[in-house]
Symmetry: C2
Subunit: 416 residues, 2 copies
């Protein structure tokens, strides 16, 4: 039997945090957001991390399948990436004139990402998606943007929902929403908005929260690509979440098409703070024309880390490695469920797998199962995709399946 984690110090720290920080912990790492439920199953603060694990402030260890919501792709504190960053830090990081690491990183991305003729660096995924929208509007002199419902493209006002606090109708006045995988709808909006659509923006597949993740239907992206070209609209792929976990050449390449603009963040530098917008040659002048920068956007340390991260991902043939580990893990989890008479559904790509226990449409049984896993040191979340990383060992995967089995056995005992 696995130990049941207690979170005494985490709770104390959270009370302290709540006094001086709105929500205590905000965003998807905080208990106020929907995918972090049930909150009593989770630790709030971490003490340290290494490889595939993090330890919370109570000393509990977790095999971490959230990977800081994506950035941890090689394993926490990867020695090669950290060494490259350390060496660069001795030279300098945030300096009045940028370092040549910026050029080398741009050259490496252009070399690696199929649809990239150039790279532009910023700090957040949100900076990259917002830059893409500005670039598309500057190039086309058009306003409207087509989104696929269920999307997440960051937190800038243009990409939030009208009913979210602080958002105005002006912020989203030029947004058009259509269902994922619906080519008829896309045909219709192009017909109804002739010469007005600046861009179509989409994640490579639908990995929204609280729903099974949906891959593109056969031919879907090819039709989107064709319609964008015919209508002179810019095709933007938001690869912030999936980027480098499906294909080092870009998730557009994985699905057999080419984006005009592609946004990266998360896995780009194994947790070092950098994002990138890559694009086609015909959009380079529009990108150059923008008033778009930030205090730390040209800092050298994250570039050095990113170069080391991409080189190591290439050497490891990382997407293949993560897919293999993910497939093996998901098969084990499905088997564990079956053993106790449960029906666990896995969706999305194996390196970004989404889980749903189909035996209870209210999802409360699913949440219960996840809770029992987390309390035993396997960090899953309930209604968000997970993330694989290269440092997950065979022993980690085996222990995960053993914990999942124990959690299912608890559920079966409790509910008969």
């Amino acid at each position: 039997m696995h130990d049941i984690h207690q979170y005494t110090k985490s709770k104390e720290a959270f009370s302290r945090a709540a006094r001086v920080i709105p929500s205590g912990i905000y965003g998807h790492q905080g208990p106020a957001e929907g995918c972090f439920v049930p909150i009593e199953a989770y630790p709030f603060f971490s003490e340290r991390a290494q490889g595939s694990y993090f330890w919370d402030v109570d000393g509990n260890r977790f095999i971490d399948y959230m990977c800081a919501y994506g950035p941890n792709i090689l394993g926490y504190n990867d020695p090669e990436v950290d060494e490259a960053a350390r060496r660069q830090r001795e030279q300098g990081d945030c300096i009045t004139a940028p370092s040549e690491r910026m050029i080398e990183f741009a050259e490496l991305l252009v070399d690696t990402v199929a649809s990239a003729d150039w790279a532009f660096f910023a700090k957040n995924g949100n900076d990259a998606t917002t830059g893409a929208i500005l670039c598309a509007r500057a190039h086309t002199h058009r306003k409207k943007i087509v989104f696929f419902r269920g999307y997440y493209h960051g937190v800038a006002p243009w990409t939030q929902k009208i009913d979210y606090p602080g958002i105005l109708e002006e912020d989203v006045a030029n947004n058009i929403y259509i269902p994922w995988n619906d080519v008829e709808a896309l045909h219709r909006v192009f017909d109804e908005n002739k010469g007005q659509i600046a861009a179509v923006i989409g994640q490579p597949y639908m990995h929204g929260n609280f729903a099974d993740n949906e891959l593109p239907a056969p031919g879907f992206w090819q039709t989107v690509r064709r319609l964008c070209t015919e209508n002179e609209a810019v095709l933007i792929v938001d690869d912030v979440r999936a980027g480098f976990r499906l294909d080092l050449a870009g998730s557009d390449h994985y699905f057999g098409f080419e984006a005009d603009l592609i946004c990266f963040c998360k896995a780009l530098a194994n947790g070092y703070n950098v994002s990138a917008l890559c694009g086609k040659e015909f959009l380079k002048n529009a990108m150059s024309s923008l008033s778009y920068t930030g205090s730390y956007w040209l800092s050298a340390v994250p570039f050095a880390a990113g170069i080391a991260c991409i080189n190591k991902m290439k050497r490891l043939d990382l997407p293949r490695l993560l897919a293999e580990k993910g497939e093996r893990l998901c098969a084990g989890l499905i088997g564990a469920a079956k053993q106790y008479g449960y029906d666990l559904r896995v969706s999305g790509a194996p390196s970004l797998f989404y889980l749903r226990l189909a035996d209870d449409p209210s999802l409360s049984l699913h949440q219960e199962w996840i809770s029992e896993c987390v309390r035993r040191g396997v960090y899953f979340t309930c209604h968000h995709n997970h993330f694989m990383n290269a440092s997950l060992s065979d022993a980690d995967l085996a222990e995960t399946v053993a914990v999942a089995e124990e959690a299912f056995s608890v559920l079966r005992k409790r509910h008969g």
Copy 2:
């Protein structure tokens, strides 16, 4: 006589950069922006930095008065800040659950900044100002924002100009612009927009580009404060640029008033990548209600660096130190100008001094003088404020004045 710098390798690197990066170097660190003129006087890429200096890729050393456009406040590679960051990095940086460094940093800011009851962290100054606008709109359920002409609040669409590429009229539809220091105009906009103004946003003083910087007129901020309170509008101080160089308790405190929301970035962590939005208790719930986060916003290393930076700034009584160094330097520069019959005007705070040679309204003589300084290893820019840092030694200041003198002598010889 000082050596005249050559930029052979910088130019080669820039050509290489321009092939794979829009504009080669973008933003205020790049040659495409107006304050980086004349471009032939400047190096493009840095090799390393230490204390008050950076070295370019040609091996030229510069006494750096731009400080990476603000972040370098203690000196490049400050040993205390770097050691705190290094120790935290060994523990972990970007982890699924945040570190307690986040709480400690928030507590330290609440302790340090007079108007702060809470702190919210992000990555860019732009994240902080955008968060402030969202928070003000969420709290007031109003749309309009009052700006002071000449402002810079980042690069989000809401704060750009309508004639900038990619910007829509919807982005700026609720912006009201009034002149700096004009209380009559502020009275008028509050009268004409009763119950519609969500916030007034301003930098602590007007430090725009291409113009002498203007301090607040006596009583100006107190009137702004009173009008915001009477009209239930949120008063936002954008302290991204000036923050911690005027007063560790906030630039609002320096000018004798209290903001409702105050935005920090740049000097917050001596170049480590973090920004903060601090605010009053009555806005904490509105801030909590926002959908606002990012992949690296809770990373621990910049928090550890920020804690070390603020503690060291306190110990050094940094604003006093920078003011003293800045006053001494500016007096030396004015004296050097006078010696050759030139009239150098200094404006803004001494720790963020703005320079203008008043003898030629076309500013070309000013640019010529700045060029001669830069080519001799003193890094000024032409039409942007400068930044002092703690590691500038007496010898640095003396050498700067000597270079300025030599540059004036060159001008006098050239123009008679």
